[in-house]
């Protein structure tokens, strides 16, 4: 088992005719993902990597019986693409696009709340269930199948920690990159809830970073509701206040909220060991499994 995606997930790629859309469609197909359709306005009738393209998500989803989408649409048009995916409706929408205006995302989030769709991202690497399917841009070869669930705000840091896990023989059930933006769809708590309900996830790695209060809220959730053991990592211990560290959401505010210290304290307070290094995270996972 796994969460969000498996070998039966049927995927529409929104923006499949663009450079990134095309490249990653090929990569997803190579990994064994069921990419069944593309959706690009005005490009209906074309084919990309053998995948038929439709003018609308609705047509693509109906013609190919799809239940998920991956979005590579440029920022200026991305919110519209997300509304379209939510309206189709689909079970899962993974938004890879970086740089979507925050107010657009507030409206998308508002629309998502009225659906049963899981929106992952934006500005994220995607979701992968090793050996079954990947939706997004994650490098498939570093993952291995197993019982560790992983949820992370960062892309390459996810790869680093997965690499540490895989090298120890600690395979993954599903890895979810939730994205580095201030307003995102699926958050830590949503992902933890999914992993807690998944019989084949025996431990969870939660990989957070400075900015916002999501890790603190996730710690409260873990303390109250989770039996599955969780190991943590928090990036940005040395980040100075008031400076945006790459991700739009990764900033310690001038008044001192969003610090790594507060997040580490919250997690350790509910018994979640927080690694000082990625290697130590793998140690902690080994300890609890």
């Amino acid at each position: 088992m796994s969460v969000l995606v498996d070998e039966d997930t049927r995927v529409v790629v929104q923006g499949i005719t663009g450079g990134e859309g095309k490249f990653h469609t090929e990569q997803m197909l190579d990994y064994g993902t069921n990419v069944v359709a593309g959706a690009v306005p005005g490009k209906g009738g074309q084919e990309v990597a053998g995948v038929p393209v439709y003018d609308t998500v609705d047509r693509a989803a109906r013609a190919a019986d799809a239940d998920a989408s991956v979005v590579f649409v440029p920022p200026a048009f991305a919110a519209d693409a997300l509304f379209e995916a939510l309206d189709a409706p689909l079970d899962l929408v993974v938004a890879i696009t970086e740089g979507i205006p925050t107010q657009d995302m507030a409206r998308v989030k508002r629309a998502e709340a009225e659906t049963d769709t899981h929106l992952v991202g934006p500005n994220c690497p995607g979701v992968i269930t090793p050996g079954a399917a990947k939706l997004g841009i994650l490098p498939g070869n570093i993952f291995s199948s197993g019982n560790v669930g992983l949820v992370s705000r960062s892309g390459t840091l996810t790869y680093q920690i997965v690499d540490n896990l895989t090298n120890r023989g600690l395979g993954q059930s599903t890895a979810i990159g939730i994205g580095g933006d201030p307003i995102i769809g699926t958050d830590f708590i949503d992902a933890l809830e999914l992993f807690e309900a998944d019989r084949d996830t025996h431990a969870v790695v939660m990989c957070g970073e400075i900015g916002g209060q999501d890790e603190e809220e996730a710690a409260r959730f873990i303390g109250e509701y989770m039996d599955t053991p969780v190991a943590g990592f928090i990036a940005g211990r040395t980040a100075p206040p008031g400076k945006r560290m790459g991700h739009a959401g990764a900033i310690v505010s001038g008044s001192g909220t969003g610090t790594a210290e507060s997040k580490i304290d919250a997690l350790e307070g509910v018994g979640v060991p927080v690694g000082d290094t990625p290697e130590e995270v793998a140690d902690h996972v080994e300890d609890v499994l």
């Binding site: 107010q103 508002r110 841009i137 490098p139 307003i183 560290m245």
Partner: protein, 381 residues
């Protein structure tokens, strides 16, 4: 993207929010002439992107021409918390009885905009929020509908604003919300919103920060951008389009992806070193970008050694290796030791390309950071 006070006031005034009479000046003579026009008493206010300008000596109230000249001479050209003051706003002083605060921002936890009103205007609102959270009335707005009139009234009455001006303040709050919404604001604030003895309400200061990701659809605001970088290297990073933050240590850090670069900084600290910078080359960087990144970090005189850590997803190891070679082969002698760790997409191809006479290669992140910390300590010893 931050606007200057004078720019924000133009936007606010266009939307119908009352602001004091004012003129912009960039020389002492212009400032004195402006003071004569707007009349005394007036305020001379430094136009720089710095909070707490008053306390730092960047704002003075003057009562006549000689005071105006003296204030303009001291403020124009001054260094205000690291920023050179090139312009001042000369503004009619408001004779106020009361100072309020109104603001709109995005509550990222709630995923919704929030409007705020307080009767504790004129002071640092973050301090009020920390010490007396109940002194600020908050109203979350549904972005699908915008702010309803009743929400503005509710916030204003809940904050305890004087009944005589409550209607005007509520109307200003709605205007502020609408312009925040239409102009892709990240923060819009009036602090203080001054109340006069005859119950008029005037925006004595104005803050309008715009979402940088939305500038493509706010072309007139994008033109106002005058973001002065705090230091030369940060300015250079802006040119190259790098996410870069300069720090005070001696271990230079380059990597791909915000979370991984932050982690590399943390590990430098963990292994006893001090990070000199945060530099994220982003996803899918080509060789030239890699070369630029190394050139930048080399040009920071504080840097004694560099750790270059790449875990490729959409970034390819062969491109990175070519970029590192290009950067280093231009030197007769490598200026600073470079420790490289390449993993992920095309890292094997990258390892074949990489000129290992010029760099030290490590297989893991932890080993690479430890080697860089040791190299930096050796150089600085």
């Amino acid at each position: 993207m931050r606007l200057h006070e004078y720019q924000a006031k133009e936007v606010f005034a266009d939307a119908g929010i009352p602001t004091p009479d004012a003129q912009l000046a960039s020389t002492v003579e212009e400032a004195v002439a402006a003071a004569e026009t707007v009349g005394y008493p007036c305020a001379i206010k430094a136009q720089v992107h710095v909070g707490g300008r008053g306390k730092a000596g960047g704002i003075e109230i003057v009562g006549d021409e000689s005071e105006a000249r003296e204030a303009a001479e001291s403020i124009i050209g001054m260094d205000l918390k690291g920023y050179l003051v090139e312009r001042v706003l000369v503004e009619s002083a408001v004779d106020f009885t009361n100072e309020l605060y109104v603001g709109v921002t995005m509550d990222r936890g709630a995923g919704r905009p929030v409007a705020m009103v307080s009767t504790r205007g004129g002071v640092n609102i973050e301090e009020v929020a920390a010490s007396e959270p109940d002194a600020i009335a908050r109203e979350h707005v549904d972005p699908a509908f915008g702010m309803f009139p009743y929400q503005a009234r509710k916030a204003v009455y809940d904050a305890g604003v004087d009944r005589a001006v409550a209607g005007d303040v509520a109307s200003i709050l709605r205007t502020l919300y609408d312009l925040w919404d239409e102009r892709d604001g990240s923060d819009a604030e009036i602090n203080p919103l001054m109340v006069t003895a005859d119950d008029e309400v005037v925006a004595a200061d104005a803050v309008l920060n715009i979402d940088g990701d939305a500038l493509f659809r706010q072309p007139d605001l994008a033109e106002m951008e005058e973001e002065a970088a705090e230091d030369d290297l940060e300015a250079k990073a802006n040119e190259y389009g790098f996410d870069y933050v300069r720090l005070s240590g001696n271990v230079g850090i380059i990597g791909n992806g915000a979370g991984l670069v932050m982690t590399t900084l943390d590990l430098v600290d963990y292994y006893g070193g001090e990070p000199a910078n945060f530099l994220d080359i982003g996803g899918g960087a080509k060789a030239e970008r890699v070369t630029n990144a190394l050139d930048m970090v080399f040009s920071d005189e504080n840097v004694d050694a560099v750790v270059f850590n790449i875990f490729g997803g959409i970034t390819r190891g062969d491109e990175v290796a070519t970029g590192i070679n290009d950067a280093l082969e231009q030197f007769e002698e490598i200026p600073k030791p470079v420790i490289v760790r390449l993993a992920g997409t095309k890292s094997d191809a990258g390892m074949e390309i990489l000129n290992t006479d010029l760099v030290q290669v490590e297989a893991t992140l932890e080993a690479a950071v430890q080697a860089a910390v040791a190299a930096a300590q050796e150089v600085s010893a």
